[in-house]
């Protein structure tokens, strides 16, 4: 057991830090992508494009992808170091085509034929294609396998009809990885096919969903008699469920996410020395101190759990179920943090950005209102707990409809 960087890890970490120093201007490190985008959208997008060109040249885009397909072939620990240093320095996202690099691409790498890999992977690396995932439907959320969007084989193409929902960035994407039902008579997981669909195809309309916090980051996508060539099928017909579940060995420690939460705790500590309750600064309030200490401790525990999972993964062990554990832990901590931030402000937490008298641009309140999106997406806590109970602890499934 040794939690220090090995010499190779330390050298790589230094290499990343040096490269960031050379390639990421100080202003970007201080403000971060979102702020730069808000103050100078044109300049920020220009820099972002250049940044990703350099990352691609350096071999750090798709760092965890196999070398044979143009990736870096990096071990989980090395991936984690890259992600951690980038997050620590407030770097812009690694990749223009984030959905492609993180979610859709792996399925193409593992199940695509040579022609498909040649056709789709360059656009993912270059950022010239934006991908989205057409998975959830109004009637198929937690029970995704019950999806109904229908694809009927008609010779050299499939005819697709149906609706998807909660499709992230569909309004910006030119390609969609679509899960469709090709065999309604088979058990639900055995009748699904994965299709890659051009979003400019006739018959596709996307409509953004207005979230409870007014943002519009997801869309409903409607398919009316959409023609999808058979060459765009990923993997075999009716084998789409496995294709969609395909993952490369991406590091799943969740460590980088804890850096952002760390910053939240620091901001909380700082603010608590100024803001008062009952005439005393909150950092002197014993109850508040207890709550901050608890949150800080849980965050530390999360980081160490991440390192344990990373170690396990680095030794080639399967950690897919472990990500349910970190997700649950991380979102619990995130929620506590947001609530503490609002507690700090008390009645002033009602004020939103743009209002007179608002404190800190209402950021704690904004985070609180955004939180349900993070916790529901990718599996609600109830689903995560089912996964942990059934797949890790071995408790038997309910008599829910598994057919």
């Amino acid at each position: 057991m040794d939690l220090k960087d090995s010499p190779a890890e330390a050298a790589f970490r230094q290499e990343v830090r040096d490269w960031i120093k050379e390639n990421l201007p100080q202003e970007w490190q201080e403000k971060g992508f979102r702020k730069m985008l808000a103050t100078d959208p044109f300049g920020a997008v220009g820099f972002f494009t250049e940044w990703n060109k350099r990352l691609l040249q350096k071999g750090w885009l798709g760092f965890g992808w196999p070398k044979e397909v143009g990736g870096g072939g990096a071990s989980p620990v090395m991936q984690a170091i890259l992600n951690e240093e980038m997050t620590r320095h407030n770097a812009p996202p690694l990749g223009v085509s984030l959905m492609g690099l993180g979610w859709v691409g792996p399925s193409i790498v593992l199940y695509g034929n040579e022609e498909q890999k040649k056709r789709f992977l360059p656009g993912i690396f270059n950022g010239t294609d934006q991908w989205c995932q057409g998975f959830s439907e109004p009637g198929a959320g937690s029970d995704l396998a019950s999806l109904k969007c229908r694809a009927v084989r008609q010779g050299d193409h499939y005819l697709v009809n149906g609706q998807k929902t909660w499709t992230s960035i569909a309004n910006l994407a030119n390609w969609i990885m679509l899960l469709v039902r090709t065999d309604p008579s088979a058990p639900k997981r055995n009748g699904i096919t994965c299709l890659m669909v051009d979003m400019t195809s006739p018959g596709i309309t996307a409509r953004t969903i207005k979230q409870m916090n007014r943002h519009e980051e997801y869309s409903e996508v409607f398919f009316e008699d959409v023609n999808v060539p058979v060459e765009n099928r990923l993997g075999e017909e009716n084998k789409g469920w496995q294709v969609a579940k395909a993952t490369l060995v991406f590091e799943r420690s969740g460590i980088s996410e804890t850096i952002e939460l760390d910053r939240g705790v620091e901001a909380l500590k700082k603010a608590s020395k100024k803001l008062k309750k009952n005439g005393k600064p909150l950092n002197e309030d014993p109850v508040f101190r207890q709550k901050v200490a608890q949150t800080n401790m849980e965050l530390r525990a999360l980081k160490l759990l991440g390192l344990r999972i990373l170690s396990k993964q680095n030794r080639g062990k399967d950690v897919r179920n472990d990500s349910s554990v970190t997700k649950l832990g991380r979102l619990n901590v995130g929620y506590k943090l947001d609530c503490l931030g609002m507690d700090l402000l008390g009645t002033y937490s009602q004020l939103l950005r743009g209002s007179d008298s608002v404190i800190d641009q209402g950021k704690w309140t904004n985070r609180f209102l955004a939180w349900p999106g993070y916790v529901i997406g990718g599996g609600t806590p109830h689903i995560q707990k089912n996964i942990i109970a059934e797949r890790i602890l071995g408790l038997s499934p309910d008599d829910r409809d598994e057919k």
């Binding site: 057991m1 040794d2 939690l3 220090k4 960087d5 090995s6 890890e9 620990v77 500590k269 608590s272 950092n283 014993p286 101190r289 207890q290 901050v292 200490a293 608890q294 800080n296 401790m297 849980e298 530390r300 525990a301 999360l302 160490l304 759990l305 390192l307 344990r308 990373l310 170690s311 396990k312 680095n314 030794r315 554990v325 649950l328 832990g329 109830h382 995560q384 707990k385 089912n386 942990i388 109970a389 059934e390 890790i392 602890l393 071995g394 408790l395 038997s396 499934p397 309910d398 008599d399």
Partner: protein
């Protein structure tokens, strides 16, 4: 970076677990519970043959010279098996000797502890329930070359069975609380020392009140230097707390395993109760809590080995986490066992009792959270 145990440590874990399953099943523990001694001397002998009391002692003093992480592995197994023994307190006395003893003192006491011949203990609490050096108020008055000791120590583990008790007394009242503390090597048979066995919630360990009435001891009984005991006391408490945390993690896992096992076999409404989400979800939550607590303890053990400066904070993180978690795992287990869980014969309440004792010993979650708040600069 590698946060996994080595293959030797995994072997140590497996051997320890097998030994305890065979030698100390719960039926045996129930016998030991009824005995005033609170441990089985034949078992202590076997455990000494395995080298457990010698584990952390350097080879030059008759020990095996293993590490804090190795120790954590073994303590976890002891906790999982609910092993009744003076080990934890013996360990704290060992830490004190290693930290403060002169070479002569180490040569005198450590080999006998390593062989299991001498059972030692460490007095870390007084009436008034103060966890740390602020709670050392029993006094040692100089009397020529000797000292006269007066005061009361509470919750001294296995003092009634020990041949050596290491006790902090206040030898000076000037300056900060951590200055002016001296550690003394006490024989329970010393005139004026009275040991009273207490009756406690944890049926698998024995605690005593030890009173000192004009106990006269020579200066050779000082462990380390006069007025130098404060920093040693702190270190002993820190290390003892991590050992306790490891034992608690094992205990939480031990009782949790029983919960999951019961949920799989107990059927109601035509199916195993574990197939209901009302049972699944608390189980999943406890699993997550235990996994989170583990890393905090393992890291701290490693941090001790590396002599890292953040040890105080790390200890508090670990104890705060497992204190709440072990109790929750224990009580949830009783509830999930239903009526059967509430019976004397069901073993689960033994774990809950251990959890509650452990929760308050060496600082509960509230105490450690306040320490965290201070150390992170609130």
């Amino acid at each position: 970076m590698d946060f996994e145990f080595s293959s030797e440590q995994e072997m140590l874990r497996n051997e320890s677990r097998k030994f305890l399953e065979k030698t100390c099943p719960l039926e045996k523990i129930r016998e030991i519970m009824e005995d005033k001694k609170g441990f089985a001397p034949e078992m202590w002998k076997q455990v000494s043959e395995l080298g457990w009391p010698a584990l952390i002692i350097p080879e030059q003093y008759g020990g095996i010279g293993m590490s804090m992480v190795d120790l954590v592995v073994v303590m976890e197994e002891m906790g999982r098996a609910l092993f009744p023994s003076p080990f934890l307190f013996n360990l704290m006395a060992t830490f004190a000797l290693l930290e403060a003893g002169s070479d002569e003192q180490k040569q005198k006491y450590l080999p006998a502890i390593a062989s299991g011949e001498c059972v030692a203990t460490f007095a870390f609490a007084e009436p008034g329930d103060m966890v740390d050096i602020h709670g050392v108020n029993a006094e040692a008055r100089p009397d020529g070359d000797s000292f006269i000791l007066n005061g009361t120590k509470m919750f001294v583990g296995y003092a009634h069975a020990a041949s050596l008790i290491i006790v902090p007394f206040r030898t000076s009242k000037n300056g900060k609380p951590e200055d002016g503390i001296t550690l003394f090597l006490i024989d329970p048979q010393d005139p004026g020392v009275k040991t009273t066995l207490l009756k406690g919630i944890d049926l698998t360990r024995k605690n005593c009140e030890v009173t000192f009435t004009n106990v006269k001891v020579g200066k050779e009984r000082i462990l380390g230097g006069k007025d130098q005991g404060g920093p040693v006391f702190k270190k002993v408490l820190n290390k003892g707390t991590i050992a306790l945390c490891a034992e608690m993690i094992g205990g939480a896992e031990g009782v949790f395993a029983k919960t999951v096992e019961y949920a799989k076999i107990r059927e109601q409404f035509g199916r195993p109760i574990g197939s209901f989400q009302g049972i699944k979800h608390p189980c999943a939550e406890t699993y997550v809590e235990i996994e989170l607590a583990k890393g905090l303890t393992y890291y701290t053990a490693w941090a001790f080995e590396q002599d890292l400066p953040d040890v105080d904070l790390s200890v508090s993180y670990a104890k705060a986490a497992i204190s709440d978690t072990f109790t929750r795992a224990g009580m949830d287990s009783i509830l999930i066992h239903g009526g059967v869980g509430y019976t004397w014969e069901c073993d689960v309440h033994l774990f809950l009792r251990r959890a509650k004792w452990s929760e308050y010993t060496l600082g509960d979650a509230t105490y450690h959270r306040e320490r965290i708040a201070q150390l992170i600069g609130m």
